[in-house]
Structures are given as C-alpha cells and as structure tokens.
C-alpha cells in the first residue's frame, strides 16, 4: 500500500461525497473513511494512518489491519488509487 496514493482526479467534499472527474463516478463514504481519504490526499503514509486509527478508536489491531486492508482493496477496485 505504501506505493500508492489517492487519485489526483478524486474530489472529496466535507460531507464524504467523492467525485472521480475522469469517469463521472460518485461515491459516499462514512466519517472514518473520509478521515483516511483526507490523510491519503495529504500524502500521509499507510503506517501513520493505521497508528492514528488504532489510537483514536476502540479497535483490535488485527481487526483494524483487516478492515483497512479491505478498504484499500476497495479503493483499488474502483480505481481511486494510483501509483506514486
């Protein structure tokens, strides 16, 4: 995941509404996903995002690892990530 960044064509609104300007696709995400995406947009690395979520939310490390990986996989499926 460290070699990826958020697509430069993705616009993220404060409401968690995403618009991919190259395809016209739109998505909605929850508050936690929005925080992750904003961090990615600000070029914060995967490890730092992981540590931040672990600190801020009551979650087991293994579950967070699985969920975050799943989320990144979804971003990849929807072409919202691009190589650095």
């Amino acid at each position: 995941m460290t070699n990826y960044k958020l697509s430069s064509n993705l616009a993220i609104s404060d409401n968690g509404f995403l618009f991919l300007s190259t395809t016209g696709e739109t998505f909605t995400v929850n508050d936690i996903a929005k925080v992750v995406l904003m961090d990615l947009k600000n070029d914060i690395n995967y490890k730092s995002i992981f540590d931040k979520l672990l600190k801020e939310y009551e979650v087991e490390e293994k579950i967070l690892e699985r969920d975050l990986e799943d989320f990144f996989n979804q971003l990849n499926v929807y072409n919202l990530l691009e190589e650095k």
């Binding site: 616009a11 618009f19 300007s21 190259t22 395809t23 016209g24 696709e25």
Partner: protein, 347 residues
C-alpha cells in the same frame, strides 16, 4: 439578427433545438431573435416562454428539397433570416445540399459537406476509423437475413444491432439478432449495423469543428441516468485528457465543420476508448457545455457569420444536468394558428 433553428421537439427523445437556442441567447452582448422551424404543430418549443419569436412549419425531408427551399424562401421574405441552424440528423443532407442556394439568399449556415456526412455514417465509420488508427467495435452491415448467419462465426454474443439513422438493441443470441434486424430494418431501412458489444462505460463528447481541422470546443459527459429509450436524462461533465485529445484527433482527421456528438465506450478490461458513433449535430444535452464554460452553439453561429473564433481551452468539471418534463398549459388558439396557417408569432 434573426436565427432560425430546427429540432424543437423537446419530448421524451428531445431534439437539440431548445438547448441550442438557450446557448445562443446566453451569449453576452449578442442580441437576436430566434425563428423556430418545426415539422409538427405539437413540437413544444413554440409554446414555451422566451424561446422563439416566431415559428413556421417546414416540410419533412422526404418531401424533397424544392419544397423545403420554397418554404424557406417564403419564411425569409417575412423574417429576413441571417442564419439557419439545422439540428436534426435526418435533415442535414438536405440543408447541406441547399447551402449554395441559401447563400444566394444571404442566409448563412455552418454545415459539414455531403462527403463528411457520409464518412461519419454508421455504415462507413468503421472503415474510416480503421484507416486512421481509431479504435472502433468490429461490425458488419446486414442487408438481408443471409448476412445474419455470419454473426455467430464473427462475433461473440451479445452484439449490438443498430439502425442506419436511429435505434439500437442488444441481442444475446441469433434469434434475438433476427428479431432486432426485422424490427429495425422495417423502421429505418437498410443496412442494419451489427456491432461487436464492448463491455464498459459510455462517454459522450459534445464538440464543434471549424472545418479546417481545428476543434473549437469539446466537453465530455458521463450519463448518470438513462431512460428506457437509452437517452441520458441526467449527466455530469468529466475530463479525461485521452478522451478529449481523441475527439480532437477525429475532428481534425475529418476536418469536421459543424457541431457533433462523439459517442465512446471505455472498454472495462483495457481502459481504451472505442468510438461507437459520431452524430453530425449537437446533442440534446449541449446546454451542459454552455453551462460548463463552452458556449458551442453560439460559437457555431459566430463561425456561420464568418467571424474568427478562438478555441476554448477548458471547462468546468462536475457540472450536472437533470432533465425533467413539465406540462405546459396553453390556449387552443396557438395550436390552431400553427395547424391552419403554418406559423405562429409570439408577442
């Protein structure tokens, strides 16, 4: 300045006339009156507020060019037209052929040549694209049931079955191809185009070519809601450099002169764009291009008037259109005027 516009059938499969007029009327420091040219007394635009000043019926293209020219001469004698903007596929051959005669009357147009119209036809587009390294779905032109037997050996199902002017159906097996062939050919004649089905997302580009190879503007749109007729009922502007450059390349290769709509499909597995169709006029969603910063209809009028028009360089991405229907209430008298006299004058 008086500008006549056709395609005022703003119905469930809308013509581009009303959005073209809205664009022209939006132009700053440009005053004009719009004259509506209609084929049917129930085309809605003449009854709408602030769209057309006067409306005249014109004969259907099947009535022949002489009849059409006589009618335009009559309208011109009353209105002194400066420009005519035809917006419907089926009338373009006729208006293109009439261009020299319209010129003599002092009426300007900005239309493609007959050769250009033929080149982008559904039956010719594939060979043009193949000659110019533009990706296009493989197709065959079927003129008889015999041709359909080739489909099983040359294509994988499903396939798209398309009429030469309008209409398209997806067929999942040979029986469905036969059925679509029969229904489409009875409506639109021959050949029927049978096209490889490319799985992916569809993207449309509204564009204007200056006739010398330059693209004055090009705005890309993704349909967000599609009706049962396959018409986009809402859409959003998008930007993909590959798509816009491809559109400009096509316009340059044909030296397209006029408005156009380029329909592409982006293949899911390769992310490559295939040109599905090139419509020889602005699409019904062309007002989205105006709203996003490229007033293509007004630029076309400027080109028709012989003015130099600088190409647009950008447009706003993420601009949305949502079409809606509205019951317009009017008096029977107006319908009577158009039905009996073939013309109607507002205010």
């Amino acid at each position: 300045m008086k500008i006549a516009v056709t395609g005022l059938n703003n119905v469930d499969n809308p013509g581009p006339g009303v959005p073209v007029i809205r664009g022209i009327k939006d132009a700053k420091d440009f005053k004009c009156e719009i004259i509506g040219l209609i084929y049917d007394a129930l085309e809605p635009a003449p009854y709408m507020d602030d769209i057309v000043q006067s409306t005249y019926t014109i004969p259907y293209p099947s009535g022949g060019l002489d009849l059409l020219f006589e009618r335009i001469k009559y309208i011109h004698s009353k209105e002194k037209l400066d420009v005519i903007v035809p917006t419907l596929d089926s009338e373009l051959f006729g208006f293109t052929k009439l261009t020299p005669k319209l010129d003599e009357l002092g009426i300007k147009t900005f239309l493609p040549s007959t050769e250009q119209l033929i080149l982008r036809g559904k039956d010719k587009l594939a060979s043009f694209c193949n000659d110019n390294d533009i990706l296009v779905p493989k197709n065959i032109l079927a003129t008889s049931a015999q041709d359909i037997y080739k489909v099983s050996s040359e294509f994988k199902f499903p396939v798209a079955v398309k009429g030469i002017f309008y209409d398209a159906k997806i067929a999942n097996n040979l029986d469905e191809v036969f059925s679509a062939f029969k229904s489409i050919s009875s409506k639109w004649g021959f050949p029927v185009v049978i096209q490889e089905y490319i799985k992916g997302e569809e993207y449309n580009v509204s564009a204007l070519g200056d006739g010398e190879g330059k693209t004055i503007g090009a705005v890309a749109m993704k349909k967000l809601y599609i009706t049962d007729n396959g018409k986009g009922w809402s859409g959003v502007t998008i930007y993909d450099n590959k798509l816009i450059e491809l559109s400009k390349n096509i316009i340059s290769k044909i030296k397209w002169k006029s408005g156009a709509e380029l329909e592409f499909i982006k293949e899911e597995k390769t992310n490559k764009y295939y040109l599905l169709e090139m419509n020889p006029r602005f699409p019904a969603w062309v007002y989205l291009s105006v709203a996003s910063g490229q007033n293509l209809p007004y630029s076309l009028v400027e080109l028709a008037l012989g003015k130099k028009v600088e190409p647009f360089e950008k447009y706003e991405v993420g601009k949305l259109f949502i079409r809606y229907s509205w019951d317009l209430i009017t008096d029977l008298k107006q319908f009577e005027n158009i039905s009996v006299n073939g013309e109607m004058h507002n205010g």
